[in-house]
Amino acid sequence: MRYIEPHAHMVSRTTDDYERLALAGCCAVCEPAFWAGFDRSSPAGFYDYFRQLTEHEPARAAKFGLKHFCWLCINPKEAEDVGFAKEVIALIPQFIQQPNVLGIGEIGLNKNSRNEMEVLEMHVDLAARCDQLVLVHTPHLEDKLKGTRLILDVLKNHPRIRPERVIIDHVEEHTVGMVLDAGFWAGMTLYPETKCTPARAVDILENFGRERLWLNSACDWGVSDPLAVPKAAREMKRRGHADDFVDGVVFGNPKKFLSQSPNFKLE
């Protein structure tokens, strides 16, 4: 089986995990910028992080035959200080031309505050000005419904954002419909305790079809599983889905969306 891991935070994972991904059939891993579990004390911390994403991680992945791509932003968990966020966003243009950068992400909301909204709008505007793909994080748990609605309002009201170039991630049963109905791509994150289990993700695929949907592990420093995508593929096969259906979900769909970036090349 071949697949693309479209959302993984490999800076938090061991080198053994790169090997496990490769052995499971992963051919490319895509890493959005995120919260490291603690707040960075200065924009310089983000400068170093962006270098790690664009220089160090691609080299680490290449040792196992894996292509590594990334997305850049200041994540919503560190977006409450708008002045700080502005300084970090100002760093992004100098990294956008790096060969493994796919776009701006994972931007979005965390607690649905006004400051988070302002930083989200700055990111969306940057993506539009630089003609970049967008990857959006939707909030956790009780905040997801409201946050998804607010995010959709921001994106739909921006005159230069094209829905087919935006993926809205971490959808669940109560948000997937509104995202797809608005023309955006939707990502399902497979987590052991929060977000979707493999069984629920396959339920969503059966109810909504596979068009504009992808699966990811979003493995990071928390409770997460870097092999969640192949496990969901096994779940699909367990239910009798054909190999070409499974391949379309775990390889074809992410390839189709990500290939809108000229930097996404698998060969």
Binding site: E142, E173, G240
Partner: protein, 88 residues
């Protein structure tokens, strides 16, 4: 898959989760102290299990969600608890 095949594949897992949930309720109720909004929200969400077919998972998620629509003035922190503490 037909219904029999779904039951063959998932019944024992669902049974196990149901017993775990029952044991959780027993555990939390024999502990000293008061309920909080999380347990109240969970009890309210139980009612959705007998709702219309095909949308029970969505209904449970909605029952545990913040239903308001306006951004809040300031983020109170970073974490989420899994249930909305406000009043609908």
């Amino acid at each position: 898959m037909n219904r029999r095949q779904v039951l063959d594949l998932y019944f024992l897992e669902a049974r196990s989760k149901l017993i775990d949930l029952a044991a959780f309720l027993d555990r939390v109720e024999r502990a000293p102290g008061e309920d909080d909004y999380r347990l109240q929200a969970l009890r309210a969400a139980f009612a959705e299990l007998s709702g219309p077919a095909k949308s029970r998972a969505e209904a449970v998620l909605l029952a545990l969600s913040d239903p308001t629509t306006e951004p809040i003035a300031q983020a109170p922190g970073k974490g989420a608890t899994g249930a909305w503490p406000g009043k609908k």
